[in-house]
Each structure stands twice: as structure tokens, then as C-alpha cells.
């Protein structure tokens, strides 16, 4: 099992990119939650989550996005998901998440979508 990793970086356009990798489950969800909260506390409401190296996501991991999406949207921002592997995407897809979250093929696309007003 690969260890869960998460880090935050800020793009020149003021978009927070939170990268996640490894296994996102009940044990590691709090790490992501902390990162998200930190970004929001720093008034960063344009958030892109980079899924490129994420191998597995459990229901507890999905819960994190559900917790933050409403406050972020109320604050005029959004959480956009990007660069998912096919396997992770299928989990999101099965649950009907694409109806609520916009999912992009790559991180630059997601960042760009903010400046396009999308």
C-alpha cells in the first residue's frame, strides 16, 4: 500500500493546487482535510486538486470534497478535480460525482478554467 501524500502549491493566477497521491482512505482523509482548510483559511477559494498520483480513494476520501464544496462555492470559488487515473475516475463516476464536480483531464486545463470564468 502506497503512503498517502499531499502538498499545496499556488499557481501565478492565484489558484491553489493541492496534489494528492497514494491511498486516500479513512486514515489519511484528515491530512487532505487539513490542507484544504489551510488553503481556505488563506482565502484561497480557487482550488484544483491534482489526482495524478492517487491510486485509491475510499468513501471517507470522497467525503472530504463533499464537506468543502459548499463553503467554497458560497465564497465564490470552486473545487475542480484534475488528472484522475481511469480507476479513480470510475469511482467518482459510479457515485455520480461528475454531476457536482467538474473533472478535467489535466491540471493546467483546470487552472485555465478559472480564468475563463468556468
Amino acid at each position: 500500500m502506497t503512503e498517502f501524500k499531499t502538498s499545496t502549491s499556488k499557481s501565478p493566477d492565484g489558484v491553489c493546487v493541492i496534489s494528492i497521491g497514494g491511498y486516500l482512505d479513512a486514515h489519511t482523509a484528515s491530512d487532505l482535510e487539513r490542507n484544504m482548510q489551510q488553503a481556505i483559511d488563506e482565502n484561497c477559494t480557487k482550488i484544483v486538486v491534482d489526482f495524478a498520483t492517487l491510486e485509491y480513494i475510499s468513501s471517507a476520501g470522497l467525503g472530504v470534497f463533499m464537506v468543502f464544496i459548499e463553503p467554497v462555492r458560497l465564497a465564490g470559488g470552486d473545487i475542480k478535480l484534475a488528472a484522475m487515473t481511469e480507476k479513480v475516475f470510475s469511482v467518482f463516476d459510479l457515485l455520480g460525482f461528475p454531476a457536482l464536480f467538474t473533472i478535467y483531464k489535466s491540471v493546467p486545463q483546470a487552472i485555465e478554467s478559472f480564468s475563463l470564468g468556468g
Binding site: A26, S59, A60, G63, M66, E70, L94, G96, L100
Partner: protein, 712 residues
């Protein structure tokens, strides 16, 4: 020296003693009467006629024998018990007082014996009593001495005692022989010295003195001095003062009778002297012994307190109060690190607020929190010259409380005067803190164990409750057979399935999975069942039911929780199967045309507002025939992992259904479970597993219920 055995029961012992005593009394009175008539009335000398002398000597010997026997019985009773300090002290004082009283009595009584015969009745009685007193006191001393030695015996005790007894007898014999041949006197003196040396050697095992407290030692010292004084005066009187009333009386009682008490008292003197010096030698370490014994006593008392305490707080409060008393501190408290401010327990003389106020001082707070060992601050003013907060507390002892290798808090004793504590107090408190730490550990362990037991019971109740929420049998539906099973990963789970009837007469099959595990998931599962049953009364079909459930639950669920759910509806009239899915694991359907995965669009419940949810949900329908199969599962099935963490996957399950030719619906369930077992082996189950098998049959127009055959 195994003498005759005494009866073991106290009643017969007492009757023997009483008989002997009465016999002695009768003999003594008879002897007095005889002496009175023979000497006073008849005005004869005792030794004037041989038979009279022999008769009196015999009576005296028997009386002496009775005294020895009574002493023996008395001490035999006590020999089984350990002779404690109290017994020794009281025995010595009884001896010393009675010996000195006897000497005093003998000194003031007129000696009215002339020419070997008492001159009046008073002299007859007094000489007899003084003689008896001397023998009783001396023999009792010998008895006490012997029993003391035997109880704390060593290898040579019995040999030495035998030598001493022989010395007494031989010296007595020599003394008698000396009247015939004068040389025996020197042999007797030599033997007496030998006897004294043996006595000295025989008194050993005085180790108990070391642990005797100082005040008791000093009392013993006085008693030994008194005993030594009484015994040496008595011994020298009997040995050297030939015209003293005591000597005359004993000699009048038995010829050469003064030798026995004189020797015994001499040996007694040696014994007292030996004990005296042993006590003197043991005096210097008394302070240490006293302190140690009081420490041990107070630790034992602390342990008793701890055992009686019901909880951690009570334990700490009573331990603090106890420590304060033992250290004679003016005030005390115990504080535990909890959160930012310390929690104060059992504060004495100070208020908890005051202690918290103390902590607002940075220097003091740092002192308390960084304490790495017991600390005595003799003067707070010297240590913190610029400290203005306190006038009450002048000297302090701080002892860290450590439980489970973790610093838990501090035990604090304070005095209102400077230099109010000694380093000994610090040492004692350190011992207390260790004991309290261990007790804290134990208390917490017990509490955890009790809590665990309680939780286990509650889990069991929850498990039964949840099992009762799931159907035990399936309705008998014309054209369809049902089989189902659910296995939670922990005792309770978040999987749910149900069978119900829609108002339009069609049958509904529900399967759902609450995100998360354990008790929270189980609570949502129960809520879900209530909602489903309520909404099903007015729902028109699967899609409608899922929309209503989402609309009801969306607002009331925690943000991170969601429920995936699938609803299938079977119409027996038309053999039509309609399915709607709210983010749930797809169904697998095998029909004549082949096996397919049924995955209509839909969002999980609790994620999206009704407007979005309703617009995304689809409903699909099929017409089924005899032999067709539909399998509903939760994600615990397709995500079941083996030892190398590989999921079984959806394809494998679909392939099984494709080739399965079940005889009953439950065989579908069994085959699926067998497939999972084959894949996972003994690997731990991480998620709840639920399987529902539907087998479509030829229409039979019957109603009723079937056993579900489910393992719940």
C-alpha cells in the same frame, strides 16, 4: 530435651494446673502446721530427729517439684507463640518488681529463727512464704529464660541449656558435699563460672532489637538494668549473706536450698547484662530504623487509601491529604496536566484558583512544567527574588507524578515558613509519588477494561438490533425467488437491504450502502430503513422512491456521509423488472440474450440537492423470463481483496453469473460467496458484504412467504 507431653486442650491443662496448685497449697499448709507443732509447741529443733528432717525435706522437694511443673506448663503454653517485645518487657518488669519486693519484705521482717527452728507462729509463716517466694521467682525466671531461648533458638541452644541445668545440679551437689569435704567448694565456684559463660554464649539472636523503635529500646534498657540489679542483689544475698532472712528461710525450707535460686539469679544477671549491652549497641541505628519503619507504615497506609478510592480524582485527593499530614506540610495540592491550565485536585489550605493564578507567573509555570525530578525549594524568596505573587508559600516540595512513562502532573507540598521541609520529606514524597503513579496506571487500566466491556455489550445489543432491521424471510412472489445474505466487517455495518410492496402491487427490492463503517453507519442504516418504508407507501416506482429518499435525507445527513442505493421493482403481471440506481454498485443481469451490467445514471443519496439528483437519475426496465438471474451487491463484493491486495473485480462476478445454472435463488448467493471465499482466503474483510440473488421462475399464482435462507 523432649519431656513428657502435655495434653493439647486448654481445659485439661487448666485442670492439671489447678490440681497441682491445690496439692502444693495443702502441702505447704501441712508443712507449716507440722513445723508449728514440732518446733514452736514441741520446742524441738528440726534437725534433732532424722525422720522429722527427712519428712520435711520430702514435703519441700514435692512443693519445689510442683512449682517447677506449674512454671513448665505456664511457659509451655507461651512457647508456641513468638515472644514479642511486649512479652519480654512485661516479664522482666514482673520479675524485677517481685524480686525487689521480696528483698524488701525479707529485710523488714524480723528474723525469729534461732537454733534451726522458728520461735513463734509468725516466724513459721513468714519463713515459709519468703522461701516459697524466692523459689517461685527464681524458677519462673529460669522458665522465662528457657522459653525465650527456645523460641529464638540456634544450633547449640539445647546443648547449652542442658549444660546450664547440669551445672546447677552439680554445683548444688558439690555444695552439699562441701560440708563433708571442704575441697568441693572451689569446684563449685569454677563450675558456676562455667555456667555463667555458657549463659552468656547462649543468649543470641537479638536481631529483633534492631527493628525495635527507639522509645521501646530505652524502656528495655531500664528494665534490663532493674532486672540485673534485682538478680545480682538476690544472688549475692543467697550466696554470701548467711544470716539474712532470705538465706535462712531458703536453707530452712531445704537444706542447701539457697544454691538453686542463687545460681539461677546469677545466670539471670548474666542474661540481663548481655541484653543490656545488646540494647546499648543497637541504640545508634535507632533513628534510621524509626524513620524507615514509619515510612513503611505510611506507605502501607497510603496503599490502603488507594485501594479504597473509587476513581482517579478521589485517589489523588486522599493521597494528597495523606502526604500533607505525613510531611507535616501546611498546605498541599495535586495538579494534573489537562489542556492549557492545570487541573487542581485535593487542594489543602489553598484554593484551586490560587494555584491556577500561580501558573500565570511564567517562572513558576516553567518550574512546574519542566520539572524532571523531585525538587525541594527551601526558600521561595531566595530562589525567585523578584517574585511578588506569593506571601503564603515560603518553601515547597514538588514531586512529578509519572504514570505509564508519561509525566501526568505534580504533587505539591508547601510550608508557610522558610526552610519548612527536610530532605527526608522529599525522599518520603518521592516514594509516595511512585506509589501514586503506579496506582494511577492501574486505575486507568481497570477503567479502560470496564469501559471496553461495556462497549462490547452495547455492540452486541446494536448487532442484534441491526439484525432485526433486516428481513428474515422473503415474500413469496409469483415468478421470482429471492435469496440474500449480509456480513458486516465489524459487528455492525452500514449495508442495508429490504423487500417491500409498492402501492401499485409490485414488489420492491432495496439494497443500500452507507459510507463509513461501524456505529455511525449503522445509525444511518436504521434511519434509511425508516425513510424507505415511509416513502415506499407513496412511491410510484424505483426512481421515484430514490428521489423521495434523497429529498428527505439530504438536509439531515452529515456533509461527508452519503448513501449509495439501488431499487429494483418486479411486476409479476408483466414479468417486467425496473431498476434505478443512486450511485450504487451496478446490478448484474443474465437473460437469454446474455449477461449485462446494469448501470443506469444516478447520484448517491446525500450529495446533491433534489433538483440535481432528480434530473440525473435514470430508470431502466427489462422483461425477464424463466431462468433469468439478477444479482444485486454492495461494493464490499467487487472490492473484496486477497492477500496481495488485488480486488476480485466486477468482471469475475459477472463471469460467474454468466455460467451459473442455479436450482434456487439462494444458490446464486452461495455461489457468489464461494467465489469471494476462493479469492480472498483468510484475508480480513474490510467492508460490509451484501448479496441479493433473484431467480426468475414460471408464473405461479400463489402468495405467502419463503424462508430467505440467509445467513444474517
Amino acid at each position: 530435651m523432649t519431656m513428657f507431653r502435655l495434653p493439647t486442650d486448654s481445659t485439661s491443662r487448666r485442670s492439671i494446673s489447678t490440681t497441682l496448685f491445690l496439692l502444693g497449697l495443702v502441702l505447704t499448709l501441712s508443712r507449716m502446721l507440722f513445723v508449728f507443732f514440732w518446733c514452736v509447741i514441741g520446742e524441738n529443733s528440726v534437725s534433732s530427729v532424722l525422720w522429722a528432717e527427712i519428712l520435711l525435706a520430702l514435703v519441700s522437694d514435692v512443693i519445689l517439684g510442683i512449682i517447677v511443673a506449674l512454671t513448665f506448663i505456664y511457659f509451655q503454653d507461651r512457647i508456641s507463640k513468638d515472644v514479642a517485645y511486649e512479652t519480654i518487657a512485661s516479664s522482666i518488669s514482673v520479675y524485677a518488681v517481685s524480686a525487689l519486693a521480696l528483698l524488701l519484705l525479707a529485710a523488714i521482717l524480723p528474723s525469729d529463727i534461732s537454733g534451726g527452728a522458728p520461735s513463734n507462729l509468725f516466724a513459721v509463716v513468714s519463713t515459709q512464704l519468703i522461701a516459697l517466694g524466692t523459689f517461685v521467682i527464681s524458677i519462673a525466671l529460669a522458665g522465662f529464660f528457657t522459653s525465650l531461648l527456645i523460641i529464638r533458638r540456634h544450633k547449640f541452644t539445647k546443648v547449652y541449656l542442658t549444660i546450664q541445668a547440669l551445672v546447677v545440679l552439680v554445683v548444688w551437689l558439690f555444695y552439699v558435699l562441701d560440708q563433708v569435704e571442704s575441697g568441693f567448694k572451689y569446684a563449685a565456684i569454677l563450675l558456676t563460672i562455667v555456667g555463667a559463660i555458657v549463659t552468656f554464649m547462649n543468649v543470641r539472636r537479638l536481631g529483633w532489637l534492631t527493628t525495635t523503635p527507639l522509645d521501646k529500646k530505652i524502656r528495655l534498657l531500664w528494665l534490663c538494668a532493674c532486672g540485673a540489679f534485682a538478680s545480682i542483689v538476690l544472688a549475692s544475698m543467697l550466696a554470701f549473706s548467711h544470716d539474712s532472712f532470705i538465706t535462712i528461710s531458703t536453707l530452712f525450707f531445704i537444706r542447701s536450698g539457697a544454691v538453686l535460686p542463687a545460681l539461677i539469679n546469677l545466670f539471670g544477671f548474666v542474661f540481663f547484662l548481655r541484653l543490656f549491652f545488646a540494647v546499648v549497641a543497637a541504640l545508634p541505628n535507632s533513628n534510621i530504623v524509626d524513620r524507615r519503619s514509619s515510612e513503611v507504615e505510611s506507605l502501607a497506609a497510603l496503599n490502603r487509601l488507594i485501594v479504597q478510592s473509587a476513581d482517579v480524582d478521589q485517589l489523588l485527593a486522599s493521597a494528597t491529604l495523606f502526604s500533607q499530614k505525613v510531611c507535616r506540610a501546611h498546605g498541599a495540592w495535586c495538579e494534573l496536566f489537562e489542556g492549557s491550565a492545570p487541573r487542581v485536585i485535593g487542594a489543602q489550605l489553598v484554593h484551586a484558583d490560587y494555584v491556577r493564578h500561580l501558573h500565570t507567573n511564567r517562572q513558576i509555570d516553567r518550574l512546574f512544567t519542566t520539572l524532571d525530578g523531585p525538587l525541594l525549594i527551601p526558600s521561595l524568596r531566595d530562589r525567585f527574588p523578584d517574585l511578588a505573587v506569593t506571601s503564603t508559600i515560603q518553601s515547597l516540595i514538588l514531586v512529578p507524578l509519572v504514570a505509564n512513562h508519561r509525566r501526568e502532573g505534580t504533587l505539591v507540598m508547601f510550608s508557610t515558613i522558610e526552610y519548612g521541609f527536610e530532605t527526608d520529606d522529599l525522599r518520603l514524597l518521592t516514594a509516595f509519588a511512585d506509589t501514586i503513579g503506579v496506582a494511577l496506571d492501574q486505575k486507568r487500566l481497570t477503567d479502560t477494561a470496564t469501559e471496553k466491556e461495556r462497549l462490547e455489550k452495547e455492540f452486541e445489543v446494536a448487532r442484534k438490533l441491526q439484525a432485526s432491521l433486516l428481513p428474515r424471510s422473503s415474500p413469496k412472489i409469483s415468478g421470482m425467488e429471492l435469496g440474500a445474505t449480509t456480513i458486516p466487517a465489524t459487528q455492525v455495518g452500514g449495508d442495508y437491504f429490504d423487500f417491500l410492496e409498492f402501492p401499485n402491487g409490485r414488489f420492491g427490492i432495496i439494497i443500500a450502502d452507507v459510507s463509513g463503517k461501524g456505529i455511525p453507519a449503522a445509525m444511518y442504516m436504521a434511519t434509511l430503513k425508516g425513510t424507505v418504508l415511509a416513502e415506499a407507501r407513496s412511491a410510484e416506482g424505483p426512481r421515484d422512491l430514490l428521489c423521495s429518499v434523497n429529498a428527505t435525507l439530504k438536509g439531515s445527513m452529515e456533509k461527508h456521509t452519503f448513501i449509495t442505493m439501488m431499487c429494483a421493482e418486479f411486476n409479476p403481471e408483466t414479468s417486467e423488472l425496473r431498476i434505478a440506481r443512486a450511485g450504487h454498485t451496478p446490478a448484474i443481469i443474465r437473460r437469454e440474450s446474455g449477461t449485462s451490467i446494469c448501470r443506469p445514471n444516478g447520484i448517491a443519496i446525500g450529495i446533491a440537492a433534489p433538483a440535481i439528483f432528480d434530473s440525473h437519475i435514470e430508470e431502466v426496465s427489462f422483461v425477464v423470463r424463466e431462468g433469468d438471474i439478477c444479482l444485486l451487491t454492495t461494493d464490499g463484493v467487487n472490492e473484496r481483496r486477497n492477500a496481495s491486495l488485488e480486488e476480485i473485480g466486477f468482471e469475475t462476478v459477472a463471469n460467474l453469473i454468466d455460467v451459473l445454472r442455479p436450482a434456487s435463488a439462494y444458490q446464486i448467493v452461495e455461489a457468489t460467496m464461494a467465489l469471494l471465499g476462493e479469492h480472498a482466503g483468510a484475508t480480513e474483510q474490510h467492508d460490509d458484504i451484501t448479496v441479493i440473488g433473484m431467480l426468475f421462475t414460471a408464473n405461479e399464482k400463489t402468495n405467502g412467504t419463503n424462508s430467505l435462507g440467509a445467513v444474517l
